[in-house]
């Protein structure tokens, strides 16, 4: 079993080397002057439709982003809990089903609360 995970290690190397090779080729082309490398202040400036960039990019983001991330984490954990249940369902049969039904129902209360509080709406 660990051998399989070892193969995943090989794949991490592939995943790193694919973009690395592309970037190295690009870099080498720069060395032989096929690829231009002539940076100047205007080119390296932040793009903002041609006008000068004003202030930092770190503008005030509204809290909606945070709420969605929170909702995601809570429901994600719930679903992850259900994965071992899904695998064990065949041994435990109807008891497991009722158990999980209760689990989902309790979170359903939270879902309805979130809905009523308009947490799912982007404002």
């Amino acid at each position: 079993m660990l051998g399989q995970w070892g193969h995943m290690g090989f794949l991490v190397v592939v995943g790193l080397s694919l973009p690395a090779v592309a970037l190295v080729i690009s870099f080498l082309l720069g060395l032989v002057k096929i690829r231009p490398k002539d940076p100047n202040a205007i080119k390296q400036d932040t793009y903002e439709c041609g006008i000068e960039a004003e202030g930092s990019a770190w503008v005030q983001f509204h809290s909606g982003y945070y709420v969605f991330a929170l909702l995601f984490v809570v429901f994600d954990i719930e679903t992850v809990f259900l994965y071992p249940w899904a695998v064990a369902l065949r041994q435990e049969k109807l008891f497991a089903f009722v158990d999980a039904l209760l689990f989902i129902a309790i979170l359903g209360v939270g879902y309805v609360y979130a809905w009523r509080k308009r947490a799912f709406e982007w404002r």
Partner: protein, 424 residues
């Protein structure tokens, strides 16, 4: 995997590899066999990705052109087949700029890490009978977990650019990817409940043993997974990251040259992989109702993979982009509850099946029930939410044809002054 298969039986490319590995093990070189098997798998996936990305650029551009009634690239090479190569060369020649105010380290790191989730996902995909690099017994969860790291890379790219469009694009993309990851996870949960395993090989075996494709039993998870995966890989109609009219190119606005090319390539590769996952989860993977006896299993899998990819290109060519508030609401208020209801339904069926110790043929009535309930559920839920259904016109209607739009006179300067002069 058939261990007794001859090494020259190319219906599964695993056979020659196993032949080689068996020979190495006979010699007592277990370590060498392990390294060789890992290297072959890794090299195969690297090669596959490289070739696939070049091919997909061509497919994508030609198909989109067809949909938009254009010809598409057809000059470079026969039928424009060499166009992707030309594209790659062009990208490599381009100057690569780094924004002065950005964070240089993170800016470079993001495109480097970009491919790891993609490649790792391919590691658990069975490309054919026995052709899996590592058939983990937590395969489904592995795909989800590895895919969930993608938003981080997006955030790194967007934040390090120090560009308002980039950061805003990254934040929006992440909010949407998170919201659609949940329906995807829930719909795959249905698949796991039905097949009783998270191992991708076992999921295919289940479909093979019961002579069915999962899509017959799980129509709703299929639809949810289709929509959710479209959003997760950020393709239109969910390409708000690249909403050119609003936020330029989203989180990769500041990337140029080869680094931009990498962002472009990984999107195509992800779309292809999702096509492959469709095949595994819902269309039997390499198994195709006895066709796999004649045709090599990996050919069948590639065909299914490409059909899935083609579906994505089709969606991109025809469906208009959704606004972010619409797409988020749709995910949370429609896909998530529907997916959970379906999990409960399938779990009940499976529990009943095993409680009664019924034969596998019980799946047939389940399929009928599931299709009917799916249709009923969607209709009922839409009624419940009182969603408005607007009929889109079958053909373009000119205002003269409509006949009810009367001429609205433009407000004249006199009208303004009159309004200004006499406040109501």
């Amino acid at each position: 995997m058939n261990v007794l298969a001859n090494w020259w039986d190319l219906r599964s490319l695993a056979n020659p590899v196993n032949g080689l590995l068996g020979w190495l093990r006979d010699k007592g070189w277990d370590e060498i066999a392990y390294i060789v098997s890992g290297s072959i798998g890794a090299a195969a996936i690297g090669l596959f990705l490289g070739v696939a990305m070049l091919a997909l650029i061509w497919v994508e551009r030609r198909v989109i052109a067809r949909i938009q009634i254009r010809r598409g690239p057809n000059r470079v090479g026969p039928q424009g087949l060499l166009q992707p190569v030309a594209d790659a060369i062009k990208l490599m020649q381009k100057e690569s700029l780094t924004p002065r105010l950005g964070d240089k380290w993170v800016f470079w790191l993001a495109p480097l890490l970009l491919f790891i989730p993609t490649v790792l996902t391919l590691g658990v995909v069975p490309f054919g009978d026995g052709m899996t690099v590592a058939d983990l017994n937590v395969g489904v969860l592995f795909i989800i977990a590895v895919g969930s790291v993608m938003p981080l890379v997006v955030f790194m790219a967007g934040w390090s650019s120090n560009n308002k469009y980039s950061l805003l694009g990254a934040m929006r993309t992440i909010a949407m990817v998170l919201s659609y990851e949940l329906p995807a996870v829930i719909s795959l949960l249905s698949v796991v409940v039905l097949t009783g395993s998270m191992q991708l090989g076992e999921i295919i075996n289940f479909q093979k043993d019961h002579n069915t494709w999962n899509v017959f039993l799980l129509p709703l998870p299929f639809a949810i997974y289709l929509i959710a995966s479209l959003a997760e890989i950020g393709r239109s109609p969910y390409d708000i990251a690249e909403a050119e009219s609003e936020i330029v190119a989203g989180y990769h606005t500041e990337y140029s040259g080869m680094k931009f090319g990498l962002f472009y390539a990984v999107e195509l590769a992800n779309a292809l992989i999702i096509g492959g996952l469709f095949a595994v989860f819902f269309f039997g993977g390499w198994w195709t109702y006895y066709l796999d006896v004649i045709i090599p299993s990996w050919v069948l899998f590639f065909v299914k993979m490409l059909l899935g990819y083609w579906l994505f290109v089709w969606a991109r060519g025809t469906v208009p982009r959704l606004r972010i508030d619409q797409s988020l609401k749709f995910s949370w208020q429609f896909l998530v509850p529907m997916g959970l209801l379906n999990v409960v339904l399938v779990a009940f069926e499976v529990a009943l099946w095993y409680q009664l110790d019924a034969p596998g043929i019980i799946l047939a009535p389940f399929a009928v029930i599931n299709w009917l309930l799916t249709a009923g559920l969607i209709v009922g839920y839409v009624r419940l939410l009182k969603l408005e259904h607007t009929q889109t016109p079958r053909r373009l209607t000119l205002t003269e044809d409509v006949g009810i739009v009367t001429h609205v006179p433009a407000p004249s300067a006199a009208g303004y002054s009159a309004a200004g002069g006499s406040p109501a």
